[in-house]
């Protein structure tokens, strides 16, 4: 154990601003990515729900492996 108390831990021997900036930015960026994935999924599911109603009524379902 290197630290005798919280204030020593947060100051990181005077390098605290650099170190905590790096860790904070990393956490924010990762949480943003998780949020974007979740929001994208929600909007896709909403679209699919609306889209499928029309698709099932008006046209026959396409063969899923016909493309490419």
């Amino acid at each position: 154990m290197n630290w005798s108390g919280w204030s020593e831990f947060w100051s990181m021997g005077g390098d605290g601003l650099y170190i905590w900036n790096a860790y904070l930015v990393t956490i924010v960026v990762i949480l943003t990515e998780i949020g974007v994935i979740a929001l994208t999924r929600r909007s896709i599911l909403e679209h699919l729900g609306r889209y499928a109603k029309i698709a099932l009524k008006e046209r026959k379902p396409r063969n899923e492996d016909s493309g490419f």
Binding site: M12, G13, I19, A55, P61, E64, G67
Partner: protein, 257 residues
């Protein structure tokens, strides 16, 4: 998730017997089952890694506490490069085999790779400021990493800009392949000629302390598990978006709204 049990029917072609038989439907079911495991592994490993790195690891005699940025910087750097080559290989195989699933996988990988490339540059410049006295220098590895970030952004931009998925795959796959051949060429050519310019790479010497090595290893494994979890979770989005016209998507997801 409950809606998906019906997608794992035994009459579907298996995903992994040959890559050419990999179908988006099988891939979706597999990703759905796997990504929570990798997500929890990432949480556990990163928590352990942060504890080892920030609390247990000793003060470095030369860089004091400042080296602790390495517990993010080093895994982010290696992962961004590894993800780049994984993206290029998946995109290249999809071009060669005319295989849809691999191109979906490639486009699910790229955003996490771009994120790690950004983090590697950001934490690298935070590291460099007190040690080199500047946020940025045009040094071999920094320039190569900047190029990795730009290649990822170019790949994502091409995918987003072209509406037709097949044309988008072809254009972005070509870019990924050019980068995959160009990056090592650039990197090693600068290393080779760096003696002329006095531009040899420098940075943190390999840590000799077993606790520091343990912290780096835990953070590396944790962020790798995160990469897999995020990629699989995004792969599900990519598959649903591209396969919205297929019957199984309508059958499983059409009822919700």
């Amino acid at each position: 998730m409950p809606a998906f049990s019906s997608a794992l029917r035994s009459d579907d072609p298996p995903l992994l017997t040959t890559w050419s038989a990999a179908t988006p439907q099988r891939g979706y079911a597999l990703a759905t089952r796997l990504y929570p495991w990798f997500g929890w592994a990432a949480v556990v490993l990163c928590t352990l890694g942060l504890f080892v790195g920030l609390v247990l690891a000793p003060t470095d005699p030369h860089q004091h506490e400042h080296y602790r940025i390495a517990f993010i910087h080093t895994p982010a750097l290696w992962l961004s490069v590894a993800i780049y080559f994984a993206t290029a290989i998946a995109a290249g195989c999809s071009l060669a085999r005319r295989q849809r699933f691999l191109s979906m996988f490639a486009s699910a990988l790229a955003p996490t790779g771009a994120m790690f490339a950004f983090l590697a540059l950001w934490t690298g410049s935070l590291w460099g400021k007190p040690i080199w006295g500047t946020w940025w220098i045009w040094e071999t590895r920094l320039t190569a990493e900047l190029l990795v970030l730009f290649l990822f952004l170019g790949y994502i931009a091409l995918q987003e800009a072209i509406d037709d998925a097949r044309r988008a795959d072809r254009a972005s796959g070509l870019l990924a392949l050019v980068g995959a051949f160009g990056l090592p060429l650039l990197y090693f050519s600068i290393i080779h000629w760096s003696a002329m310019y006095g531009n040899a790479p420098r940075g943190l010497a390999a840590p000799g302390n077993p606790i520091i090595t343990m912290g780096l290893l835990l953070m590396g494994l944790g962020l790798f598990a995160y990469t897999v979890a995020a990629t699989l979770a995004r792969l599900r989005n990519v598959i649903l978006k591209r396969e919205r016209n297929s019957e199984w998507v309508a059958r499983n997801f059409g009822a919700r709204s």
